[in-house]
Assembly symmetry: C2
Homo-oligomer: 436 residues x 2
């Protein structure tokens, strides 16, 4: 059983039933129902799916009192159980947050539907017409932690792209998730979507998570949303393909020909705008020939950022502390930054090849040849020239909404939105051809 | 140790070293070398990679005597060890087969290089230019059985698309594989490709296969090429993403409005052209209202195909035997066919949803509305209207050469060629933007 199950859990019918759960059988039953609903969903016109999302947004707004009531119980239990204040903040809903969830649902309804898009069409010499069209992936499992908004955010991206969702949220938010799920499904059903298109795992038993991860052939893809330990566990144990975000050890390289003012602004923004997001810079690489290294680090130090440098970096300013070797491989997600002085582009590329996590790496330079080599040779999901790494975000990329940022190499890379929730099939249009 | 290791194995230095192999360490060493070589390969101009392939083809032709000599030893051992004649046939090389291998290598050199292709370019309101460009996946592991031609075929598709390959062939073909690999690498190195871009596992120890499957983060993708038991083992054990082909339980549905002559020709070709390929039809679905069911089955029966039918199908011709329930889920890969009479399109769709393996399913109909619904609702990698399912092939699809047919849903589906060996990265081109 989940260690976070609260003392009142057994008073709750949904949790009570967890006591005797046969997790693989439960996941099989839910997955079959989800797959059947997905077929119906996929055959609905796109406009109808969009309209169902608008009805779901309205249902969420109507259910505000019930959602707040459920959330208050979760928050009270969380505080009594000793949740950190950061966790309680993630968990807590208020009318503004519920409105934001509903507005996000409506916004997804406005996004272009990728389903049915023709990727390409060819006519080989055999006379056939071949067309690749985007289709939904099928049943997506979403495993997340304490943020109850994921219940709506992830589910509606799935529905918009014709996929069914099987949600398993954190036990801290169990009542909030049930209330949001109930409203969401009510609206979707009003719009003609089968209720089983979005299912919430009815138990917090951790065995159900294990059964989801093992459900190859029943669940088509799993997306973990949460901290690194959750993601790492899902990646290690899953037999189902996983679309996940792991580390963001992101570098910004200030080339000798960078405009010093631009370099200073980009470095400061990349680290300090928000230190806790995956696109924040964790290592600053400074070309030994860059004209104003002190102008680069001074604003960071003055803003309270701790800098850890190699020997040459420590010589820039006495406030820079010596880095430990492990610093080059650390994602701080905090006001801490490692700084290395490197010998030009080649030095930067070697450092990045060794230490980057393949998330987002940036260069600041006015030399187009240097930029071109950096863009070509750095093998990360996102490679940036002359902009802050904090732009690594589906919204900033114009994708509307993202289900996550993928740090794997296959299927989808970087910010993943509706297109990443689709696959394709080949349509072959003949006129009686047989193969010689 | 591999049960197929022949008695002379210990006389062979490459095999001898296998005795004491530390498989994870070996795979780590090979993978690191392969990854380093892949970086060099990826930065080579496309024309140079193509030229290296032409030099590799020439080297293969020059090495014909050595390859035939090595192959003769493998074949002799195989016969002595009791390999089936089908296996010996797959293993055996002759000058024509070596020429075919070399010609296939040259043909891959002529294919369009997907690396560097721009998938799309967008300009969101923040002023950034976003470009998705195709890049190689990285290091691809190929695990295959007794066909030595895979050593060249798979490796050159990897090289053409900027990927390094780590090959592990079957022990029956160990000497042939080494001879082919040696020639191939010789040619590639003449063309400036690092030797480690294509590595052949130096041991037949099965622990090395296990270590490859476990090498998440070192090997980016594994492609098994071989029989179902190999593929199933790889899928079950791999921690690395797998691109694989499993079952091809392919249906052809003859709708009431099908042209009877076209239906007869397509059904016959789909089953009998070659019964052992993955695109061959395994189940024929006949609309109860189709005008000439006997004309459909008679040529198949007369050609020696065994037909196994449901009750209504058995009524078409007394030579049709009653099907067992397991027949509907069986991939015969032989002159055996299950036949069911279904009630129109809905009956066919229900049967396919229940029994298809998601590979290739076809409809024969002159009714465009029925065809449109079939193409939309059948959720298989390849869905065909009015043509034989035996067209399910990368060559017929105009892809030039295929690394395999994928029956999974993510990354690539159906015939996979060079594009399926790439992923993409996002290039973000700014002019000093910081995120507000």
């Amino acid at each position: 059983m989940n260690a976070h199950v609260s003392p009142v859990a057994t008073a709750d019918p949904a949790k009570q039933s967890a006591e005797a759960v046969d997790a693989p059988a439960l996941v099989q039953r839910l997955a079959r129902a989800g797959r059947a609903a997905q077929r119906v969903l996929a055959s609905m016109p796109s406009a109808q799916r969009a309209q169902a999302l608008r009805l779901a947004a309205a249902a969420l707004r109507r259910a505000e009192p019930e959602i707040l009531e459920a959330n208050a119980l979760d928050v009270a239990d969380g505080i009594a159980g000793g949740l950190s204040s950061a966790m309680v903040d993630r968990l807590r809903l208020d009318p503004a947050r519920i409105e934001a969830i509903a507005a996000a649902v409506e916004q997804v309804a406005t996004l272009d539907d990728p389903v049915g898009q023709i990727i390409d069409e060819t006519r080989p010499p055999n006379g056939l017409v071949l067309r690749r069209v985007r289709v939904p992936i099928g049943l997506i499992g979403i495993i997340y932690e304490s943020r109850p908004n994921v219940t709506a955010d992830a589910a509606v991206l799935c529905v918009r792209s014709g996929n069914a969702a099987l949600l398993r949220g954190g036990s801290e938010a169990a009542r909030s998730n049930r209330a949001i799920h109930k409203a969401l499904v009510q609206g979707l059903v009003e719009g003609g979507v089968p209720a089983e298109a979005v299912q919430l795992m009815p138990t917090q038993d951790r065995a159900a998570v294990g059964a989801m991860l093992a459900a190859a052939g029943l669940i088509d893809m799993i997306i973990p949303r949460g901290g690194k330990s959750l993601v790492a566990r899902v990646q290690a144990d899953a037999r189902v393909p996983v679309l996940a975000h792991l580390d963001g050890i992101n570098h910004t390289f200030i080339d000798r020909s960078a405009n010093p003012a631009m370099a200073k602004d980009i470095a400061f923004n990349a680290k300090m705008r928000r230190t806790g997001i995956c696109g924040s810079m964790e290592t600053l690489l400074v070309d030994a020939q860059f004209s104003d290294p002190h102008g680069l680090v001074a604003p960071l130090l003055e803003a309270g950022c701790e800098l850890r440098g190699d020997a040459r970096a420590c010589a820039i300013d006495p406030r820079i502390k010596p880095a430990d070797p492990s610093d080059w491989d650390t994602e701080y997600l905090d006001a801490v930054l490692s700084v290395a002085v490197v010998d030009g582009l080649d030095g930067a590329l070697a450092h990045i090849a060794r230490h980057a996590s393949g998330h987002t790496d940036a260069i600041v330079t006015d030399d187009e040849d240097v930029a071109a080599r950096f863009l070509s040779e750095v093998d990360s999901a996102i490679v940036i020239h002359n902009a802050s790494s904090q732009f690594a975000d589906g919204g900033e990329f114009g994708l509307g909404a993202e289900i996550g940022i993928a740090t794997g190499r296959l299927h989808a890379r970087g910010p993943v939105a509706l297109e990443g929730l689709t696959t394709y099939k080949w349509l072959v249009l003949g006129s009686g051809q047989i193969r010689p």
